[in-house]
């Protein structure tokens, strides 16, 4: 999955390899500006109860038009397969969204995914015709099982959600990239733009970022920085880096030294 210029997930073509989350921003205005600056074609969104007490409160769709930017409904906050399935079935009813992000969490403190429940949910969703982008651990075995179950993209964590710790296990991410035929998108734990570049240099097909942009002092500038970081990492990966040497090799010729 490295030759094409765009990111193809199932039947969707995305111009940008950066997908951004829409949580944690100070306002919807800031969300919309950051999304624009990031250049992303796809954003993740959560499904929640409507606030029935406040009829005039603005909503996300007033600021991000789902006709212009692709919504990727997620199951954030779901701790069981049943909750995740319920959430995504509601999302599909809302506007026909078939492409979804599945995350089934297993632990409140680390927000680590429960891979047994995740795999179980993936199988059900695939059977129901969903195109499932699956948030998962960086365990190559489970990544393979998810792919075999019909996942449309494998989304291993770099480190815990919202931690900003960056990619903690480059080897596992690399193994997953090498063994996987569907797109691999690093999701969760990215802390700053260079982390996204590293993910892309490892050969990942894309990066999903929320906190690193929303929690920056200047989220809009950071969104633009991520846009460039992902493009840069991708180009670097496609270029094929030089070999590493243990000793120096002079850059200037010896011939003609005075």
């Amino acid at each position: 999955m490295i030759k094409k210029n765009f990111l193809k997930i199932a039947n969707q073509n995305l111009k940008s390899r950066l997908i951004v989350g829409t949580g944690k921003y100070k306002s919807f205005k800031e969300t919309a500006e950051a999304v624009k600056a990031s250049g992303a074609d796809m954003v993740t969104v959560a499904v929640r109860r409507v606030n029935i007490l406040d009829k005039k409160k603005p909503i996300l769709m007033d600021y991000l038009n789902p006709k212009k930017i692709k919504y990727l409904p997620n199951t954030a906050g779901c701790f069981t397969s049943d909750d995740a399935l319920r959430t995504l079935r509601l999302a599909r009813e809302m506007g026909g969204w078939k492409m979804v992000k599945l995350e089934v969490l297993g632990d409140k403190k680390t927000l680590y995914p429960d891979m047994i429940e995740t795999l179980k949910s993936t199988k059900v969703l695939v059977k129901e015709g969903f195109k499932v982008l699956v948030y998962c651990t960086d365990d190559p075995l489970f990544a393979k099982k998810l792919e075999d179950a019909g996942a449309s993209a494998i989304m291993p964590l770099a480190s815990p959600i919202g931690s900003g710790l960056g990619i903690q296990n480059k080897v596992n991410i690399s193994i997953i990239v090498k063994q996987t035929k569907v797109p691999v998108i690093v999701d969760a734990g990215i802390g700053t733009a260079s982390d996204a570049t590293i993910a892309m240099e490892l050969g990942c097909d894309g990066v999903l970022v929320n906190s690193a942009i929303a929690n920056a002092n200047n989220p809009i500038l950071m969104a633009s920085s991520f846009k460039n970081a992902v493009i840069s990492g991708r180009q670097s990966f496609l270029s094929g880096r030089m070999k590493k040497n243990y000793f120096a090799k002079a850059s200037s010729p010896k011939k003609g030294i005075i």
Partner: protein, 67 residues
């Protein structure tokens, strides 16, 4: 009058109003929402047909910001 639970809150509404009427009451009829009635997702084209009765549990959801 019918006593129902809407998004976890107990409310009282007129007897035999439809899901569409309920959405209208909260100015949601033009918004992109999904409805679950007693745990079952109701397709949009049934909103006008489906009437709410006493002790029904209704969930109305929409998209919000998330990662």
């Amino acid at each position: 009058m019918a006593k129902i639970q809407l998004n976890g809150k107990k409310i009282t509404i007129k007897q035999k109003i439809s899901l569409f009427d309920l959405l209208k009451k909260y100015k949601l009829e033009k918004k992109k929402v999904a409805i679950e009635l007693n745990g079952i997702i109701i397709p949009k084209d049934l909103y006008k047909k489906k009437e709410i009765v006493n002790r029904d549990k209704v969930e109305v959801v929409h998209f919000i910001g998330g990662g």
